[in-house]
Each structure stands twice: as structure tokens, then as C-alpha cells.
Subunit: 197 residues, 2 copies
């Protein structure tokens, strides 16, 4: 009935997203063009527009891919009997993910590409990963580690601190890796101490 697709719909989709991620990581947002990702995957710009509708659509998928990776990193954090340690482990996972995918991190939490800013639907995908943080905070409250001002406000504070530190570190403002480590541990020590019961 119709001309068959050269590649599987899903594989082409993934190839384009991956190519975008590779270009973004290797050469930054300025090099990320529809022609480039199309050429990189051996197809034409039409693919981008039929699959994603838009360059923003492609960026949206890369954005979501970034959150999938973060969610996977969070899921890999074990749930021990020490909720505070779990919380700090989540922070480490957040940081490691940001360092491993700096450009995706910028795409997710910065605003590096003017063509795209997360819509409500995309922002909704953030929720699950944030829920993991809230859940861990809730366990800290339940076990009396933190004073109960609500798990959500606590999560916001930790999130703000983690994001702020990531921003500074990715910008190189936290010195070398040892210094950055020290800033991270000190910062979360202060904050969790202030949150403690």
C-alpha cells in the first residue's frame, strides 16, 4: 500500500536522538543543526520534521532522554536502612549524571538552546525523578532524621543546592575535582545539619 520505511520507526528515532546527543556533547549547541543530525544518521532533514515536527521536537526528545538517564541513575541508587545516606547517594548520582552528560544537563536545567524551552508536557516528565527525591526525604522525616517541615519543601532545598553546585561546577567555578568534592560534602553537611531534628 505504501513505500516502506527504510529503517524501523523507533530505531531511526533513537539514531537521531543519539546523534543529537553526540553532537551536543562533542561540539556544543552551536553545531546542532537539523542538517547535521540528518547527515550523521544517513538521512535527510525530512526525517527530523516528520518524526519530531520541529527542531524543538528533537530537542524535546533529547531533553526527555536526559531525564531518562537521570531516572536510571536514581534507580541504581540502593535503598538502605540509612535514609540520610541514601539521600546523599542520590545527590552523588545527580552530580555524576550531570558530569557525564554536561550538555544534556544544560538542556535539562539550563536554557542553552533558544529554539527550545520545556513545555508543560515535557516538564511533567520531570516529576518521577523528583518524586524519588521527595520519597527519600519523606523517609528521613519518618525516621526522625529531619524535622518535619514537609518532605516536599525539604526536597526543594536539596534540589536547589544540588543544582546550584552543579551549575557552579560545570562552569568551572568550584576549582579542581578535589575542591569540588570538598564543596559538595561541606554544602550538604551544612544543609542536612540545618534540616536535622
Amino acid at each position: 500500500m505504501a513505500r516502506p520505511r527504510k529503517r524501523d520507526y523507533e530505531t531511526l528515532r533513537r539514531e537521531l536522538i543519539d546523534a543529537g546527543g553526540r553532537i551536543l556533547a562533542a561540539e556544543g549547541p552551536a553545531a546542532l543543526s537539523t542538517r547535521r543530525v540528518a547527515q550523521e544518521t544517513g538521512t535527510s532533514t525530512t526525517a527530523v520534521y516528520s518524526l519530531f515536527g520541529d527542531k524543538a521536537g528533537l530537542l524535546r526528545e533529547m531533553f526527555l532522554e536526559g531525564f531518562d538517564r537521570l531516572a536510571a541513575a536514581f534507580a541504581a541508587v540502593p535503598r538502605t536502612g540509612d535514609p540520610l545516606a541514601d539521600l546523599l547517594a542520590l545527590g552523588d548520582a545527580y552530580r555524576a549524571n550531570a558530569r557525564a552528560n554536561p550538555h544534556l544537563y544544560e538542556l535539562m536545567f539550563g536554557r542553552p538552546v533558544p529554539e527550545f524551552q520545556p513545555d508543560a508536557a515535557a516538564a511533567g516528565r520531570i516529576q518521577p525523578t523528583f518524586d524519588a527525591l521527595v520519597e527519600a526525604c519523606g523517609r528521613c522525616v519518618d525516621q526522625g532524621v529531619f524535622t518535619d517541615i514537609g518532605a516536599y519543601p525539604i526536597a526543594v532545598q536539596l534540589n536547589a543546592m544540588a543544582h546550584g553546585l552543579c551549575s557552579l561546577e560545570l562552569r568551572g567555578a568550584l576549582g579542581d575535582e578535589d575542591e569540588a568534592n570538598a564543596h559538595w560534602t561541606r554544602s550538604f553537611a551544612s544543609l542536612t545539619r540545618g534540616l536535622a531534628a
Copy 2:
């Protein structure tokens, strides 16, 4: 000896920077083009390239303009006998400046425009405003408000928290203004409590 300048060198320079700021605030980074700022100031793109060398050069000046405004906001914060109150006032000034100039804030601390990222010289201009924060932290340490882990590490923690909260708020992730206010006060209450002696 030569054709005289239509406008004063400095005034044209300022007009271009202001036009850039206006466009950035009104229509976002996507609308910020050399043709546009030139047209807006009644001149041609040549002015941008002869004065700033580059679009990145114009962005650089806007970036520095943003820091000048932040520095002015910091300078307007009075120095009372209560260093902790002064510190919180600095935080409020930081937040107010970010809310008043959201696109400049993105240019300064986000990475919204791919054509430009702050070079070392521009980054050096950040120092004075950060020094004001370090100084206030130092006074807190001196008066025994904070445990002495060093004024600089303390400033980094406060800076990270402030930037993290600003990012979340500008993204609309902190709810309406009342909720955002609550998050700000709670967060700095926790952090300063954790830093307290």
C-alpha cells in the same frame, strides 16, 4: 581628516547594549540578532562589528552590564550591625535582580545563547560581586554567627543555594510568588542554621 562619527562612540555603544537588553527581555534570545539591534538603534550591522567585533562581543558587554546591575544592587544593601541580616538582604537583592532582569540573569549564570560563553576576562568581572558576599560571610564568622570553616566555602554554599533557587523560580518550579517566598525563607533558614556555630 576623516568622516566624523554620527553619534558619540560611548553613547552608540550604550544604545546598542540597551537595545540588546530590551530585545532579550521582551522577546527572548531567539529574537536577538545583529540586524535587529542595529535597526533598533537606527544604524547598521557595521556598528556592532566595529564596536564589538562580534555578536559574541555584544553579548559579552550585555553580560558585563548584568554584573554591573547586580553589583549596584549589592552596593545598595546597607551594612548594619547584624551580619546575618545583611547576608539575607544580599540574598534578597540577588533574587530581586534576577527577577527584574531574567534574561540577563540567564545570560550571566545560565548559558542561553550558544554564540557566547564568558571568557576568562569576563569571568574576572564576576569577582567583585562575589567578594561582597564573601566579605559578608567573613563578618558572620568574625562575630561568631557561623562556625569558621572559612568565609569562602560558606559563600559558595550560599551562592549555590541562591542560584539554585533562582533557577527553579525563573523556571516556574517554585509555584506562585507566595510559595516561592516560603521556599526562599525556609531554604536559607535551614542552611544558615546548619552553618551556625
